[in-house]
Symmetry: D2
Subunit: 252 residues, 4 copies
Amino acid sequence: MIEQLSVALLGANGRMGAEAVKAIDAAADLTLVAALGRNDSLESLVSSGAQIVVDLTVPESTEANVRFAVEHGMHAVVGTTGWDAGRLARLEELLADRPGVGVLIAPNFALGSVLASAFAAKASKYFESVEIIELHHPDKVDAPSGTAVRTAQLISAERTAAGVPSSPDATTTELEGARGSDVEGVRVHSVRLSGLVAHQEVLLGGPGEQLTIRHDSFDRASFMPGVLLGIRNVAAHPGLTVGLDGYLDLGL
Amino acid sequence: MIEQLSVALLGANGRMGAEAVKAIDAAADLTLVAALGRNDSLESLVSSGAQIVVDLTVPESTEANVRFAVEHGMHAVVGTTGWDAGRLARLEELLADRPGVGVLIAPNFALGSVLASAFAAKASKYFESVEIIELHHPDKVDAPSGTAVRTAQLISAERTAAGVPSSPDATTTELEGARGSDVEGVRVHSVRLSGLVAHQEVLLGGPGEQLTIRHDSFDRASFMPGVLLGIRNVAAHPGLTVGLDGYLDLGL
Amino acid sequence: MIEQLSVALLGANGRMGAEAVKAIDAAADLTLVAALGRNDSLESLVSSGAQIVVDLTVPESTEANVRFAVEHGMHAVVGTTGWDAGRLARLEELLADRPGVGVLIAPNFALGSVLASAFAAKASKYFESVEIIELHHPDKVDAPSGTAVRTAQLISAERTAAGVPSSPDATTTELEGARGSDVEGVRVHSVRLSGLVAHQEVLLGGPGEQLTIRHDSFDRASFMPGVLLGIRNVAAHPGLTVGLDGYLDLGL
Amino acid sequence: MIEQLSVALLGANGRMGAEAVKAIDAAADLTLVAALGRNDSLESLVSSGAQIVVDLTVPESTEANVRFAVEHGMHAVVGTTGWDAGRLARLEELLADRPGVGVLIAPNFALGSVLASAFAAKASKYFESVEIIELHHPDKVDAPSGTAVRTAQLISAERTAAGVPSSPDATTTELEGARGSDVEGVRVHSVRLSGLVAHQEVLLGGPGEQLTIRHDSFDRASFMPGVLLGIRNVAAHPGLTVGLDGYLDLGL
C-alpha cells in the first residue's frame, strides 16, 4: 500500500480549485480529506486530520488561512497572490515558533515556466544579446506580462553581476514602439493574438549562434504538476519558501 | 545542348554582384558575356551580344543603365533600389516604344520572402488577429525593417478590402513600447539580436488556432534563385513588372 | 435587420455538433431552425424550413442525410468522413438533376490548416528541400497524421509537375527511422508529446534561406470559422465541392 | 594595462584554426605567441613562452601535442576529436605528476549548444514526454547528429535516475520511420534541409504545457566564445576536464 498524505483544499470551487480537486483525486499517494469553499469554516480543517493545506483562494483571505494552518501545525502550499513584504515578514515570524512547519508560496505553479525563467537567466551572461517575446490571448489587460517582467529582472540581475554589457543595438530610426519595452535594460515585446493562451520566448544571441527557450501554457492543467510537487515536498522544507524553484533540483 | 541565354552583369564588383557572377557561372543555361564595374563603359554591352542585362549597381546609375539596355533592345533585371514614381513613369514611357522588351524591377529577390509576404496577406482576412515579428542583426539602423512595413501594408489592404475589423486588444496598462509599433493597424515588433541575419514571422490567430509564416535569410546567397528566375523569365514578360511576385505562379 | 439564413444541424449531440450549435447561435446572420440527434427523424427538416443542412454525424448515416437534403432542395455542408469515390459519384449524379443545390464536403474545416497546406504546396517548387514535421498528443494511434500525408501528396504533385528534383540528402549512416517516413518522396516526421493537440510545420529550404509554414490547432473551436464560411457560401456554389479551399479566395 | 595570457595555437591553418587566430587576435587579454601548422615543430612552443596551448588539429596528432604541452608545464585547451578512453586514461596518469597543469578536452565549443543540452537534461525529469528534432544541411552523412545522440543519452540518464517512465505513445499504425529513431528510449528526428547549418530542438511536454529548448549554429564563429572561455579558465582548473560544461556556472 502506498503511504498517504492527507490534504485539505481551500478555494475548492474556483477554477484552479476545481482542477486541483481532480489532480489530487487522481494521485495515488494523496487523500483529499477536506475541500472548503468561500463560506466554510476553517475549524473543519482540524477535525479533517489534514497534514497539508492547499490555499487557492483570494488575496483577502489567504493570510488568515495560512496563519490558521501554521498555528495548527499543518504545512501549507499557497497559489494565491497578494503576499507583499509585510505579509511575508509576519508569516516568517509565526514560523519561527513552529520550526517543523513548512510553507510554500508560489506565484507560478507551471513547472515549465519556472524552469524556463531560471535557464534563461543562467544562460544570459554567456550571450551578447537577449530579448523576450511574450504572447497572450487578446483579453489580457496588461503588457508586458508579470512573468516576462520577472524573467527580465532575473536576466538583468545575472548579467549585471557578471559585468556583461547591454545588448548591442544600432537603431537610429525607430517607428514608436518597434523595439518593444525596456525592463531593466532587457527588451520585452508583447504579442496579443486570438487563439493563444500564455507563451514566452527568450532569445539569446551571440556570434553565429542563437539559444531559444520557449514555454507554452495551453491550459490551467499545466499548473497541477507544480501543485502536486509542492504538496509532496512541503514537509521536507520547513520554514518559508517563496517560488517553486526552491523545490526543484536545478543544480547542473 | 542546352539553349543559352547571354547575360551581362552591371555592378559585378559589389557584394551582390560577386554572388551573381558565381550563380550565373554555375547555371548551365546562362552565359555571362560581360561583367562591368563602376568605371566600365556601357558601350561594351552592345558588342557583348547580351540579351539580358542584370543591374546590381547603385541608385545614382541604375536609371541610365536600364534606359541604355532598353534602347538597345535588351531586357533588364534590376535589383538596385531608388526607383521612385517619376523614374518608373519615365521607364514605362520608354518601354511603350519597345513592345518586345521586358524589365523586372525587384526590391526583394529572396523568393521565400516574397512568397511569405504574399501568403500572409492572402491569409490575413480569414483570421481575427495578425501581428508581425521581424528579427535582424544588431547593426541594423532602422526599425521596423522595410520588408516588415511592406508586409504590414499588404495585410492592411487585404483586410480593409474584406471588411475585417482590427485585431482585438484589451490592453489598458502598457509599459511604453511593449505592444510594438503600429503600421496601418498591424502591430510590428522588431528584435535585434547578435548572430541573426534577417528573419520575419507573421502570426495569424483565430479561435483555437494559429497560422505562422516565417522566413529566414541566412545569407546573401538567398537572393540568387530569384535573380536567376528573373533572368530566365524576363523575355516572356514584355513591359514593366515591379516585384518578383509578378513572375511567380501563385494562383492556388 | 440582417438577412437570416435558416440552418438545420444533424449530429447536434456530438462534440463537434455541440460546438456548432454554439457557433451558429452566436452568428447574427444565422438562425438554427433544427438540431437533430441520432434518433430524430429527417422528416422534421422539411417542416423546419431549413435552407442549409449541416451534417456532423457518422460515416454510416451521412450519405442518406445528404441525399435527403438534396432531394428536398436544401444545400448541405458536410464534415463527416467516409465519402469514398462511389458515394461521391452517386451524389454528383443526384445533383445533376438539382442544378441549384450546392453541397460542400470538407474533410478539414480548420481554415488555417487548409491554407497552410495550399501555401506549402504552391511554394514547394521554388525550394530545393522540403520536409514535414507533424506534432500531436500521445493518444493518437496513427503516424503520420492524415493531414500530413495529404500535404505531402499535394507537395509531391506540385514538384513533379514542375520538374523539381528530390530534396538533396547525403545520408549514408542512419539509425533506423532517424530520417522519418517517406510519403511520395517527401520526408514526414511525427512527434507525439503530452500537452499538444494537433500541429504541423512544413520546412522549405534553399541556398541561404528557409520558409516555414506552421499551423497549430489548440481546440475544436478552430473548426467553427470554416463551418460558418461553408454555411454562408454553399448556396453560391451549386453542385459538389470537395475541400474548403474551393470556397477560399486564394488567387494571389 | 590588461594582464596578458600567452597562447600558442596548433592547427592554425585549418578552418577552425583560422577562426581561432582571428578570435585570439581580437581579444584584448590574449597574446598569440605561436601559430603552428601541420609541419611545424612543437619545439618552437617552448621558446614562444606560451602559457596555454590550443589544439585544433587532427585525431592522429592531438595526443602527442597535448602530452608535449603538459610535459613542458603548459595548460591545454583541446577541440580535436579522437580522445577515447585509453587516451584519456594515459593523459590522467601524466597529469597526476603535474598537479598544477590543466587540460580541457571539449567535443563541442558552442556555448549555446552545451547549455541547451544541460538544460534539457535537467528539465526532462519534470515532464511526461520528451523528443528531439535535429536539423542540418543536406551534405551531412550521419543521422542523428552526434550532439543529438549525446543529448538523448543525458536525458535518458536523468530520467532513469529519477524513475520517470517512458514518454507515452499510443501509436499502433506507423508508416516506417515516422516516429523517428530511438536513442535510449528518446525519439530523435533528423531533418536535412538546404540552407540550414546545425540546429537542435528539444521538446518537453506535460499536461497543458510545453517547454522548448532550441539551439541554432549559423556559423563556425559560434565556437569561438567557448574557445576563449576555455583559454581564460584552464589555469584555474588543474587536472583533466572533459566537456565545456565543467567550466560553466550552471548552478541554478
